[in-house]
């Protein structure tokens, strides 16, 4: 079929790509506000660093490795579209919607960038920046790209993959590829690099909650490009995804606040910001596959579960600094599995070939089993691969900043900067 440009859809997809790209600097604010003042620049730099390295890799071989010709169900041929050369718009991932090849490639780049940046929240305050940049380059190449291929590019976790005897797995906008993937990687890396000095003894409270609120607000805004853009067209399904993204997030925020109020006696701003992100994460895979009731239920369940899950690190003794596990892994698993209960083709207007209704909508356990199998496969793949990369880096360049750097603040020690003018940093002699 001859490619026919649809300027409406193309305009929306360029807009959506820009919205998703905004999510990473937004994440820098969300994470940056949660760390201590002495390491806020390093925290933000891990997000910006991910933008740099992943944006480059995506254009060179990342897109091709994800959406190129299938190799053994595991990854795409990285040389099919190396440097995004050699493709006509007929080969566009979004050709059916009349969206050109390069727009599709650009949109997908923003997903890879935010996924890598999400991991950095687990290792705040103590990671070597050089090790982070090398990790980001390797991880996106041999974890993100293959997993995205397996789920979205025609690989083992897609319609014709390991669950083809059951149903088609549903991951509309990245519950598996983005959030479960980043959450597991964060957990593995946090354990490998070890706890922050003083974890569990010294207070490590957020140094700037307005940053956290600003970051959460910008994430929410950008997330509409993430979820409503994943339809690849400006249509009613995109509208459904937009609406579900709004309502699930509203409900998750309320649920997190209610949980806090009951447990701690206060509904906090950090809780509101965290509830927003938990809701966004959980509705991501389901955004077009559930109706409004399903979205409300997913938001409520995710808000409560994630609010409870952030306490797990104290119970199990790992230092996932900014709760990447509690919010992204638990939220991603919640949304992915709940699709098995709430998926419906009645009101959602979107349904991938072969997918069935969820348990609560007359579909039996088939879709639920499919969702669980895919989620577990992603956990194992991401966990094992991240462990191998982390161990290799630990044995070679090392993962952790020196103790002096950590105590004095990685901002000054690693970047040669401090975020705020304080009494100690105010007296500066200009050197030419």
């Amino acid at each position: 079929m001859e490619f026919a440009l649809d300027s409406g859809n193309t305009a929306w997809m360029i807009t959506a790509a820009s919205l998703v790209l905004l999510m990473t600097p937004a994440l820098a604010f969300f994470y940056g506000g949660m760390v201590r003042g002495k390491s806020v620049l390093n925290m933000m730099m891990m997000s910006f660093g991910a933008m740099g390295i992943v944006g480059l890799i995506w254009v060179l071989y990342g897109y091709s490795g994800t959406f190129g010709t299938d190799v053994a169900g595991l990854f795409g041929n990285p040389f099919d579209f190396f440097g995004l050369q050699g493709a006509t718009d007929d080969a566009s991932l979004m050709a059916a919607a009349g969206v050109p090849f390069l727009v599709a490639a650009g949109y997908q780049a923003t997903f890879a960038i935010i996924t890598v940046a999400l991991i950095s929240g687990a290792i705040a305050d103590r990671f070597k920046f050089s090790a982070w940049m090398v990790f980001a380059a390797i991880w996106v190449s041999i974890v993100y790209v293959p997993l995205a291929h397996m789920v979205w590019g025609g690989g083992l976790l897609g319609a014709d993959g390991i669950t083809s005897g059951l149903s088609t797995p549903i991951d509309f906008a990245g519950g598996t590829v983005v959030h479960i993937n980043a959450g597991v990687a964060g957990l593995v890396l946090a354990i490998l690099v070890g706890k922050r000095k003083g974890f569990g003894k010294e207070p490590m409270r957020p140094h700037n909650l307005p940053f956290v609120m600003l970051g959460a607000a910008l994430l929410w805004f950008g997330w509409f490009g993430f979820n409503a853009g994943s339809e690849f067209a400006a249509d009613g399904v995109a509208g459904r995804a937009w609406l579900n993204t709004m309502v699930a997030t509203c409900v998750a925020m309320l649920a997190w606040l209610a949980t806090e109020k009951l447990r701690d006696g206060h509904a906090t701003s950090l809780g509101a910001a965290s509830g927003v992100v938990a809701g966004l994460v959980a509705i991501t895979p389901a955004a077009a596959a559930v109706d409004s009731y399903g979205a409300i239920a997913i938001g409520a369940i995710a808000g409560v579960l994630c609010a409870l899950a952030v306490g797990l690190k104290y119970k199990f003794g790992y230092d996932d600094s900014l709760d990447v596990v509690g919010v992204h892994l638990v939220g991603g698993l919640t949304g992915t599995v709940l699709i098995g209960f709430f998926a419906t083709d009645a009101n959602s207007t979107w349904y991938p070939d072969g997918a069935l209704n969820g348990l609560f909508y007359g579909g039996g356990v088939t879709q639920l089993a499919t969702q669980v199998i895919v989620a577990l496969a992603a956990v194992v793949f991401s966990g094992v691969m991240t462990l191998l990369i982390g161990l290799a880096l630990k044995a070679t360049i090392g993962l952790r900043a020196s103790e002096e750097a950590e105590v004095g603040g990685v901002d000054l020690a690693v970047h040669g900067e401090t975020a705020y003018e304080t009494l100690g940093a105010r007296v500066v002699t200009e050197v030419k």
């Binding site: 207070p203 409270r205 206060h266 906090t268 609010a307 952030v310």
Partner: protein, 113 residues
């Protein structure tokens, strides 16, 4: 002789204390941010369910140089203006000052106040 009256008070009482001192004829004061705790200790904050006890709570410190004969009055003015009756209202203390010099003119002693 000159005395230094130092008051550590609740930050939200600063404006009232300043106005009261002006009304009482005090011509100058120094204000700085301070933090500390008294018998009440600090307070508890909760972040994502993790409780932190914050020992040092924000206070404002006021330093006023006054002549001997005005000391008792100034202390009373500060106590009255800073008082809320709640725990954590602060402290006022007085120490003797050997000499004071006005930088602009080089005057010494009470002339420099």
């Amino acid at each position: 002789m000159t005395k230094l009256v130092t008051a550590v008070i609740q930050p939200h009482r600063l404006d009232d204390v300043k106005s009261a001192l002006e009304a009482a004829g005090v011509r100058g004061l120094t204000v700085s941010e301070a933090s500390g705790y008294g018998r009440q200790r600090g307070h508890t904050e909760v972040y994502r369910g993790a409780e932190y006890t914050v020992d040092l709570v924000p206070k404002v410190k006021i330093d006023v140089l006054v002549g001997d004969e005005d000391v008792a009055g100034v202390v009373e003015v500060v106590v009255k203006a800073a008082q809320t009756g709640k725990i954590g209202d602060g402290k006022v203390w007085v120490v003797p000052v050997e000499d004071v010099a006005r930088v602009r003119t080089g005057e010494h002693g009470e002339d420099a106040l």
